[in-house]
């Protein structure tokens, strides 16, 4: 295993040195490279690539060497070493269980195992759990995650236009990934669906923005999507649907709870169609109570649909 030998000693040498080493110095200090200059350079380039692939941060710097600039290499310890998370045994076990229970589809399953090994391996006795959650991994997910961590601006196509965004948070909600961030063209916080982003997603320079003090996530209330002053609407939810609706969005304002289990919620409406669609999904178990204008619009919609029956030629109807 000449290669294994070489790789380990190369890492040790680059970690240990206090000044960057040129290729020639490396060849001197790391046994196993060929005597032939060409073969040495080919092997050395391959080794560097392999180690970078593993996530080892090999820096290249230019040094003056007998008045001739040369590339030299070093591994900065701070960027190589994983700070000790200081896990208690049961905390490591909890991470391990979570990693087996929830899987990111499309990423290599070995990533979880490789990561756990670095964190201190597995804790014996932690029972394996059948996977309970599979989270899809859209192509841009990893790139955006890195951009958030490294404070890089990102650009991508969205709805036919290029957008430039300072990314703040990735959120998986109701089966989809969203990116929330500061939209530089619109100078406002915006959320984007990852499955609607048009490639390529491009990342800018590292450290190009300051993270916000408070990171906001995506909001999924169709009646709120709009501008202008909101109108307060009240909606009655019968007991059967009240639980589901409030489970899904515990932040909804409940203004009345009735004895039969039904509740009245108040919504800040900026988007009438969003409100209509929400109330329609309740079918017979909900009612748009007010204000009268919105209620009238809703009733008009239903009337149009009810009348529509006579406008079309019907096939023989079942009895």
């Amino acid at each position: 295993m000449a290669k294994l030998d070489r790789l380990l000693n190369l890492i040790a040498a680059l970690l240990e040195t206090s000044i960057p080493l040129t290729a020639e110095q490396i060849r001197e200090r790391v046994p196993g490279y060929s005597e032939s200059p060409d073969a040495f350079h080919r092997a050395f380039e391959r080794d560097k690539d392999d180690l970078r692939e593993l996530g080892i941060p090999i820096d290249t710097v230019t040094v003056e060497h007998f008045e001739q600039p040369r590339s030299a290499y070093i591994i900065e310890r701070d960027r190589y070493e994983l700070p000790d998370p200081g896990f208690e045994l049961e905390e490591l076990a909890a991470i391990q269980l979570a990693a087996t229970a929830v899987q990111l589809e499309g990423l290599d399953p070995d990533d979880a195992a490789d990561g756990l090994r670095k964190l201190g391996g597995v804790v014996a006795g932690a029972a394996p759990t059948p996977p309970i959650g599979a989270v899809p991994t859209p192509p841009a997910l990893l790139e955006l995650f890195v951009a958030i961590l490294e404070r890089r601006r990102v650009g991508f196509g969205y709805g036919g236009a290029r957008r430039s965004v300072e990314p703040h948070r990735l959120q998986f909600e109701r089966g989809r990934w969203y990116l929330t961030g500061h939209d530089l063209d619109r100078q406002a916080r915006r959320s984007f669906r990852l499955d609607r982003m048009e490639p390529p997603v491009e990342s800018g320079e590292q450290g190009s923005f300051e993270p916000p003090e408070k990171v906001h996530g995506v909001r999924l209330r169709p009646w709120e999507l709009g501008s202008g002053d909101p109108v307060a609407a009240t909606v009655l939810l019968e007991a059967e649907v009240a639980r589901t609706v409030l489970n899904e969005d515990p932040g909804l304002a409940v203004v009345e709870r009735r004895e039969d289990g039904s509740v009245v919620i108040e919504l800040a409406v900026r988007n009438g169609i969003g409100l209509r669609n929400f109330v329609l999904t309740l079918l017979d178990r909900g009612e748009l109570l007010g204000p009268p204008e919105l209620r009238d619009e809703f009733v008009d919609w239903l009337r149009t649909l009810a009348r529509h029956r006579s406008d079309v030629s019907l096939p023989e109807e079942d009895a």
Binding site: E91, I95, R295
Partner: protein, 331 residues
């Protein structure tokens, strides 16, 4: 790390480097660990572990490789002691893929009642994200599904202990509440919702229930024998009873983004045609009522227009509004 580089069987040099870089620091910090302990912790067999350690002993060191510059590995009475220079003392940082995988999994389950009742996972995720770098805990948030914490906890316990549960279930598709006795086999999260796969004794068949539509779950003392093999978790979440064809303006695109569809195409006249399976009637009513009068909807098998269904549903809902002199009066 591409999946291709991770072939099973023969371990490549880089994979061995990866393993050694992870295991060695742990051994250094836990001097005197037994070989067995190390094997089970890092999922290796004895030969692999001892080979790796011996390899380090014979081959790793620093220029000029005088004895004082070489690694020292001692296995005595099955206990391992390692002396190294000032390198390989800490494991390598996580790659972005590894960090994302572990963080997302942890964020999905932290603080979940019945899964992380005492917050151990939440503390672990917080420590992990500190090690990954400031702000990383905020970077990802995963909500597998909304559910009543008590119901989710009860179902989880029922799966673990193979106990029957009595539930009040609201079937959204059929728009009707029911009371059932079920044997939960498996809890799973798909497409933004928690589901429990169970044998329903009331219906005498296998059923998939959405956890957020379980109004009440009560554990009973009766146990059951779970099936030996539940497959790989790829369950059909809905089964179509009829096939619906929609033709409308570009505005109906959301249907194809929201539901699984069989066909979705743009027609020559710029309109869009979507074919999808429809489950129960209330589900179809919701869809048609939202789409409105400008979308043509037909039953694909019979060719019949679905307008009567829309009209009947609209008429039914209207009654409530037209009857109410006072909005919201109880019926």
């Amino acid at each position: 790390m591409t999946p291709q580089s991770k072939g099973r069987g023969r371990v490549t040099a880089t994979e061995r480097v990866e393993r050694i870089l992870a295991v060695l620091p742990w051994v250094v910090q836990h001097q005197g660990s037994t070989v067995d302990e190390l094997c089970s912790r890092f999922g290796m067999n004895r030969t692999e572990l001892i080979d790796d350690l011996e390899f380090v002993f014979y081959n790793v060191g620093l220029y000029p490789f005088t004895p004082d510059m070489l690694a020292e590995v001692l296995i005595e009475d099955d206990r391992v002691t390692v002396r190294l220079g000032d390198y390989f003392q800490r494991p390598l940082r996580l790659t972005h893929e590894e960090a994302l995988t572990l963080l997302a999994a942890g964020r999905a389950l932290e603080d979940r009642p019945g899964i992380d009742p005492d917050g151990t996972l939440r503390r672990a995720v917080a420590k992990l994200s500190r090690a990954l770098g400031e702000g990383s805990v905020e970077a990802v948030d995963v909500e597998l599904g909304a559910a009543d914490p008590q119901v989710l906890a009860a179902v989880r316990t029922a799966v673990e202990q193979s106990r029957q549960v009595s539930i009040d279930y609201y079937s959204y598709g059929r728009d009707e509440p029911s009371h059932r006795l079920v044997e939960p086999w498996r809890l799973l999260a798909r497409e933004g919702h928690w589901y429990v796969l169970a044998f329903c004794r009331t219906a005498d068949g296998e059923r998939l229930f959405r956890v957020d539509r379980i109004a009440r779950a009560e554990l009973t003392d009766a146990t059951f024998e779970p099936p030996a093999d539940l497959g790989d978790g790829a369950f059909e979440l809905s089964e179509g009873t009829r096939t619906v064809e929609l033709v409308g303006g570009p505005g109906i695109a959301w249907v194809a983004e929201t539901f699984p569809v069989d066909e979705d195409e743009e027609l020559d006249d710029g309109r869009r045609r979507i074919v999808l399976p429809a489950t129960a009637t209330p589900w179809l009513e919701r869809l048609l009522l939202r789409l409105g009068p400008d979308v043509e909807a037909v039953d694909r098998d019979s060719g019949a227009s679905l307008a009567p269904i829309t009209a009947a549903a609209a008429q039914r809902l209207l009654e409530r509004y037209e009857r109410d002199t006072e909005p919201g009066a109880s019926r």
